[in-house]
């Protein structure tokens, strides 16, 4: 798979706000470019200078270690200057509105803003007020496009394709932006998607997004190529969605017994952070032959490098702002 020549191409969009609306060609371009960055990272060929002079701001209104670090590393490996801002230390805590924050950030003339926010649509709202490129690092329960891209990259590297694969996304679909982005991406690339979980953790109209819905995990996993587990997002839950963690694990936790109905070479994924013993059995999560969980993290950096690379290709100068 090693490619010495980096793929050329452009995105039609100034921002990466979601997977919905991206074409199969654009997704393929992003994945091909990410593949090149995987090789470059593994070769440890030193820092690139592609983004020299470019300023990237990580603006996180919601806690995150994994995603923020991954974006930070991606920016630094491309030679950009990366600044981290989080809600805990900034004026956002002091009551500044999202729009004020957008205007403030814009005045600092960044080239790329990477934004995570607990409200669906907030990143899009912010993108309308700034001149730079914006990457959605997760907005509420809407989208998390780079997660879907890194999942697709990990799958493609193992299965050599996306088209025709049968993928089961399991667990808390209702609160999951990862699920929504993955559904859009996998559907666009010609994979078949099942969603598996209790009805209380399913959006009512999820079938309208072109997926098959299963409430019985043993049926939902039958014959699948990929089992994608989701974290039970207790922090987004108000009210009774599931009566108890032990009941949830009994019915929807992934263990070898439930996995046995999937294809023998089915792979297991999880966007992290994992709740061991809640949605996934530790043994399964750590199974080196089946679990892609560690590889997903590695792919994350490469995918984010590709996103930064492609979006900055659309910027005219390195002195701030696109036109």
């Amino acid at each position: 798979m090693s490619q010495s020549v980096f793929p050329v191409g452009r995105l039609r969009l100034r921002h990466l706000l979601g997977i919905e609306g991206l074409s199969a060609e654009e997704i393929t371009l992003l994945l091909d470019l990410s593949e090149s960055y995987v090789e470059q990272n593994r070769a440890r060929g030193g820092k690139s200078s592609l983004l020299r002079g470019r300023t990237i701001i990580n603006l996180f209104f919601e806690n995150s270690t994994r995603t923020r670090t991954s974006f930070e590393l991606a920016g630094k490996r491309l030679g950009g200057d990366v600044v981290n801002m989080s809600a805990e230390v900034s004026s956002i805590k002091k009551g500044e509105t999202l729009m004020d924050t957008a205007v403030t950030m814009n005045a600092m003339l960044p080239d790329v803003l990477i934004v995570r926010h607990p409200d669906s649509g907030a990143v899009k709202l912010l993108s309308e007020k700034v001149d730079c490129a914006v990457i959605n690092a997760g907005d509420g329960t809407h989208e998390h496009p780079t997660q879907a891209l890194l999942d697709a990259l990990a799958i493609r590297r193992h299965k050599k394709r996306l088209q025709g694969l049968l993928v089961a996304i399991c667990g808390d679909i209702l609160h999951s932006r990862v699920a929504r982005s993955n559904i859009h991406l996998l559907a666009t690339m010609g994979a078949r998607v099942r969603v598996v979980g209790p009805p209380t953790l399913m959006p009512t109209a999820i079938a309208r997004m072109g997926v098959e819905v299963f409430h019985d995990m043993r049926k939902g996993l039958e014959g699948v190529d990929i089992v994608m587990m989701l974290r039970l997002q207790t922090e987004r839950m108000q009210g009774n969605f599931v009566p108890s963690v032990r009941e949830y694990f009994r019915h929807y936790g992934l263990d070898y017994e439930k996995l046995s109905v999937a294809k023998p070479d089915a792979l297991i994924m999880h966007p992290g952070p994992m709740n061991r013993g809640v949605e996934i059995d530790s043994e399964v999560a750590d199974d080196v032959d089946r679990s892609l969980i560690r590889e997903q993290v590695e792919m994350g950096v490469a995918v984010r490098m590709a996103c930064l690379d492609l979006l900055t290709r659309n910027l005219v100068s390195n002195t701030g702002g696109a036109t």
Partner: protein, 450 residues
């Protein structure tokens, strides 16, 4: 009532104490008397002195009144009763940065509305006779149009203790409502309906079960895609069906505002057929827009109840046609930028509507869904009749509150050009037909189109 530009009312033509004015060559439209004819109207002392087809031409006036009175040629344009808007949020007292009675009345004048009925969800809430009187006084001093008010069903809109219906009604409250929230407690609603009967007043109920309707938009495919918590149509159906049963138990009068769902309307249709004292209204956005207006996280289209599916929108039009929906109200809900320029889930509910009520209602006429008189009835005589008001009709001896409009004139709604203090219009950029040329209240022109 305040007069435009501070004009002293004494000598204003048409107004009290002023010389009479004749409006001729007008297409007279009075839904209450089923009048649709070319004619004229003489206005004297703030009242309609003469009206009819026999006054069509200026020459015919000699017989009707003194020679040489001021005559206004309406050029064949429509002359109808001033609109009666039965659901307006005035924001005064308490949120004057969003709207005041004065600014709302200016918007109303531009929109051809001569009577507004205010919701009690101000700060403080209108839950005491003194507050009803204070709103009336503010209106007298600052408003260009007539202002009536509802009073709260419960103190501070807390949903727990009933207000003094008798004293509030005596002070002028037209009915009782907890505004944008339904009275949830069934025992309280039962007592309120029974008790309001004593004073001949209706309970006006928001049609959504409060706990099931905590979402930010209609629950469905779009809310799933956007990752926004939804309020299901069923939340409305449940509330309406339950409340109809409680009304049945009490024999009280119950009015649902802002009805939006096919099945909620079916329940009301059925209740009416059974002879219950149930009535309802809807707002222009529920027949002119559907949930797709939110597809770009557009907070200006976030209203309560939420914009529904296309099937529901069509059902609202059907219910307007068959009379299940008695009236249309603007549901004017002004909000400043800070309340609307937010992520969708956090943004405030509501759209301004005073200046767009007439053209959006006229869409029903242009689309041949309602006749012109039928459509006008929903925003004049019908709401007036529901609330026991004399307004909303053109008849000799009644106040000369009317609007002259061109039903066909095309224009584009531009939120930033609205008179209302807040510009949160769900209809921004919409192309419409129907323009108010002149609004007259108590015989005095309060708006003349430039």
């Amino acid at each position: 009532m305040r007069y435009p530009d501070g004009v002293v009312p004494a000598k204003t033509p048409g107004g009290r104490g002023g010389p009479p004015v004749a409006y001729v060559n007008a297409r007279l439209l009075d839904p209450a008397s089923n009048l649709d004819a070319l004619g004229g109207m003489v206005v004297r002392n703030g009242q309609v002195a003469e009206i009819g087809a026999h006054l069509a031409a200026a020459g015919a006036l000699a017989a009707a009144g003194p020679a040489g009175i001021e005559t206004i040629d309406c050029g064949g344009m429509c002359l109808a009763p001033g609109l009666v808007d039965m659901r307006v949020q005035l924001r005064e007292p308490g949120e004057e940065h969003k709207e005041t009675i004065s600014t709302a009345s200016e918007a109303a004048a531009v929109g051809g509305i001569t009577t507004m009925v205010a919701l009690p969800n101000t700060r403080p809430a209108i839950d005491d006779a003194a507050l009803v009187e204070s709103v009336a006084r503010l209106a007298r001093e600052t408003s260009l149009v007539r202002v009536h008010t509802y009073a709260a069903v419960t103190r501070g809109l807390n949903g727990k203790e009933m207000t003094e219906f008798g004293l509030l009604a005596a002070a002028g409250a037209l009915g009782f409502t907890d505004a944008t929230h339904a009275v949830a407690d069934p025992q309280l609603l039962r007592r309120a309906l029974s008790y309001a009967r004593t004073f001949g007043k209706a309970i006006i109920q928001h049609p959504e079960e409060p706990i099931l309707s905590r979402g930010a938009m209609n629950e469905g495919e779009l809310s799933t895609r956007l990752g926004i918590p939804g309020s299901p149509a069923m939340a409305e159906i449940i509330q309406i069906e339950r409340d109809i049963r409680i009304a049945e138990l009490t024999g009280g009068r119950l009015h649902f505002s802002n009805v939006t769902t096919a099945q909620g309307l079916a329940a009301i249709r059925n209740a009416k057929a059974r002879g219950l004292a149930i009535t309802c209204d809807t707002a222009p956005h529920y027949f002119a827009l559907n949930e797709m207006a939110l597809s770009d996280y557009r907070t200006f289209a976030k209203v309560s109840p939420p914009l529904r599916s296309e099937d529901d929108r069509r059902a609202v039009i059907e219910a307007l046609k068959d009379g299940t929906i008695d009236a249309i109200a603007s549901d004017h809900s002004p909000h400043d930028q800070d309340s609307k320029r937010l992520p969708l889930a956090q943004a405030a509910f509501g759209t301004v509507g005073l200046e767009t009520l007439l053209p959006i209602v006229l869409e029903l006429v242009h689309n041949k869904q309602l006749g012109l008189l039928e459509a006008l009835a929903k925003i004049t005589s019908a709401p007036a009749a529901l609330l026991g008001l004399k307004e909303g009709r053109l008849a000799k001896g009644l106040a000369a509150d009317f609007v002259v409009f061109d039903p066909a004139a095309p224009w584009k709604i531009e939120a930033k050009r609205l008179q209302s203090k807040s510009k949160n219009s769900a209809f921004d950029d919409r192309l419409v037909q129907g323009r108010v040329l002149r609004t007259v209240a108590a015989g005095i022109p309060i708006h003349i189109a430039s």
